[in-house]
């Protein structure tokens, strides 16, 4: 079962982070995030959460390759590593809009 978890955890973390970021963005928009106003903390918070997510992805990637948690099977270990990389890359990719796009318009 550890092997199955090592395959499913990285991208599941990505999905949870992605959904969480979207939900947070929705919450900010439903409160008072007006572009150009004095209140500018929302975007840094979102970016901060995103960076935390990337950190968590990297920690998970390292943990899943450690002796304690890694899958015993070599093929599965490699697949788990590929998926960890994919999850970290995907997190970076979805963070780009946070920097580039306007908030609630």
């Amino acid at each position: 079962m550890r092997a199955v978890l090592s395959l499913s955890l990285p991208l599941t973390l990505w999905l949870a982070g992605f959904s969480g970021l979207y939900a947070l963005h929705g919450l900010f928009c439903s409160s008072r995030w007006v572009e150009g106003s004095a209140v500018l903390w929302q975007r840094p918070v979102l970016i901060g959460v995103g960076l935390l997510l990337i950190g968590a992805q990297l920690i998970l990637a390292v943990a899943l390759q450690s002796k304690r948690w890694r899958a015993e099977d070599r093929t599965l270990r490699r697949v788990s590593f590929l998926l960890s990389l994919a999850a970290a890359g995907s997190t970076v990719w979805i963070l780009l809009p946070l920097v580039l796009v306007t908030g609630c318009r």
């Binding site: 199955v4 999905l15 928009c29 015993e72 998926l83 796009v101």
Partner: protein, 818 residues
Amino acid sequence: MSSLKRHRALSRIWASDPGWKGWFTTVNHTDLGRMFLTVAVFFFVVGGVLAMLIRAQLATPRSAFLGPEHYNQVFTMHGTIMMFLFAIPVFEGFAVYLLPKLLGSRDLAFPRLTAYGFWCYVFGGSMMIFSLLWGIAPDSGWFMYPPLSSTLGAPGINSDFWLIGITFVEISAIAAAVEITVTVLRYRAPGMSLSKMPIFAWYALVTAVMILTGFPPLILGSILLELERAFDMPFFQAAAGGDALLWQHLFWLFGHPEVYIIFLPAAGAISTILPVMARTGLLGYGWIVAAAVALGVLSFGLWVHHMFTTGIPHLGLAFFSAASTLVAVPTAVQLFIWIGTLAKGAPRLHLPMLWLLAFFATFVIGGLTGVMVAIVPFDWQVHDTYFIVAHLHYVLIGGFVFPMLAALYYWLPHFTGRKTYFNLGPTAFWLVVIGFHGTFLLLHWAGLLGMRRRIDSFEPGQGWEAINLIASVSSFVMAIGFALIAIDVIVSVLASVRGSRDPWGGSTLDWAMPTPPAAYNFASLPEVSARDPLWADPDLPAKIARGEGYLGDWARDRRETLTVEVTTGAPRYVVVFPANTGFPMAMSAVTGLFFLGLLTKAYWLVPLALIGVVAMALYWVWGLLPRRGEGAVPVGRGLSLVTAAEVADPPGWWGSLFLLLANGTFFGSLLFGYSFYWTIAPNWPPPAYAELSLVGWALLALGVVLALLGTRGGAGAGHALAVLGTLAIAAVGARVLWLVPDPTVHAYDATVWVLVGYGILHQGIAALMNGVIVARGIAGHGAETWQGPARIARLWTDYGGITAVLAYGAAVLPGALS
């Protein structure tokens, strides 16, 4: 013991009932797989005829072939049938038929559940077809967006057929998904570790988990919309605190993963067939597994790209646009691996290979237009136009139907044990492929020229006439091609001569048995030591037939197979399968009465049918375990193993675990909907919130403690305490409902009824499960002391306790905060 004697003995033990009775009482996966596929093909024909009606209507401007009302029903049912009654069941059919054969097992994990799921599919599908024949079919499009599908836009029974019929059919999908997940993880040949599994099994596993997590939001949405239609609970009415947009979220939380639920099994078939056609091993097994898992998870982060025109803020759009482009990466990884495999091998242009080449040409076009519509400004231009219609047909027909036709022709000799007779396949291939591209390629242009989807007629002079005429003529060419395939297959099944056992030189265990396969699959279960077992050991089929594997001895005269350790494939325990029975069909018929009562508003029938289903489920559970254990039994090759009844993690525990995954997704979707109302929906807050007293909280805490500790007590008395605990939790739920007497006032009240009702329902389930264990103890069954049933009851009790606290908490939280 001769091979023939073994074959006769095992055939007697595993055979379905003879004659017509066998159709209704079979629990054998080979029979049920064929039945799934046959019924799915029937629905494909119905859906295809509807497509022809659509194209006949749109062949010329101002056509009066179909009136608007009939046209609405026809296009709605075309989409509904193809998505729900054809595509998913075809995957189920292939998986049910093939998986045990590919994995080296004798049947799926829960044979009676397979049969129950099949009959739910047949009855639910029949309900939908009945509505079509009577002219009262759903007519709001296969998305069923409210308010078009609510009582305001569709006051008749039409939408109810969709909402209730689809929910009924989805029981089948969830049942099959649980079945497939447990089978892939546990029911494999000894030695078959996860990394030696056939690639189709990986795809089936990912798809099944996607069904378990993708379908519950749709089931929830259907229940909420039906509750609104039947009892005026305003989930999607903005004036009463609801929001029609929530339907779109719930629908597409299902709907986008659904695309990959359809594509991934096809990709599994491609990854299986293509290396055999290329006469080489699959390049990059690990990469393919990673790509399948990545596609499966990423596809859950894309649902909003179907909602780009609903007024979502730019940043939200950009999130989903970025995520939508991400899926191109694992898809491309698979495509390059398949191309690489072809380059590495020496491909033969047999018919399955032709269909795979058609897949490449078509699916790549569909994939590229998919990337185009992932870009927000482009999507705004083509949303709800024929560009989208063309795109989705390129993806679904190119990405699913063509590979499935490759699979049909690849495994046809396995299904029938015969050669093809007329060799109509190549002619049919060209007719379908040319007809398909003639139909849909130009429709991209029609969409770019502004032709909206779902219109029943159009005015001349907009540049659409020639495109639509060519599309309609081509669609009939495609239909002739499909008719030829049907003739080819039927003649091959009925009249052709016997073929060889493994005509393609396949590498997987499905070709290690005589064809058509015997009911028991393998005379003895093989020991697997390579990813391509037949290429590694060409003598394996003979060894299996000679009984040199496991369970080759039939002395115990019952249906047995082995389960293995999830990762390593080491043998774990023996599973004894049930005999033929009509019980699953009868139970699905009673389930059908429940849905029929809801559909026809004969509400007196609903509780009666529900009691019937519960009683039958209890009878089913009661018969699952023997009265006494038998200790370790010999399984061959010097090994002895205990039976499933005596282990801590029997198949039922695994099945419960994955059923709870689906259940948890359902509950999570409900909480998502509630938060959506709370933060986004207009007309909040409601007039009043429910508030629970201190006594209520104390009783809830007491109930949870009793329930959780009781199931950990181990003895009968502990489970009796757990029953008391669940009843206490249910009583608190009843109190919360008492505080919100009218669920029609506001979406908050309606949601509280659903949340708390869910909590109470699960207390009922937990109480019944613990009650069964207590009753077994009273009846003197040794099972009382076995860990398996107690752990299953604990799983459900824990889940019920946690979700009840969350549900009640969510119900009263806004009141506490305000």
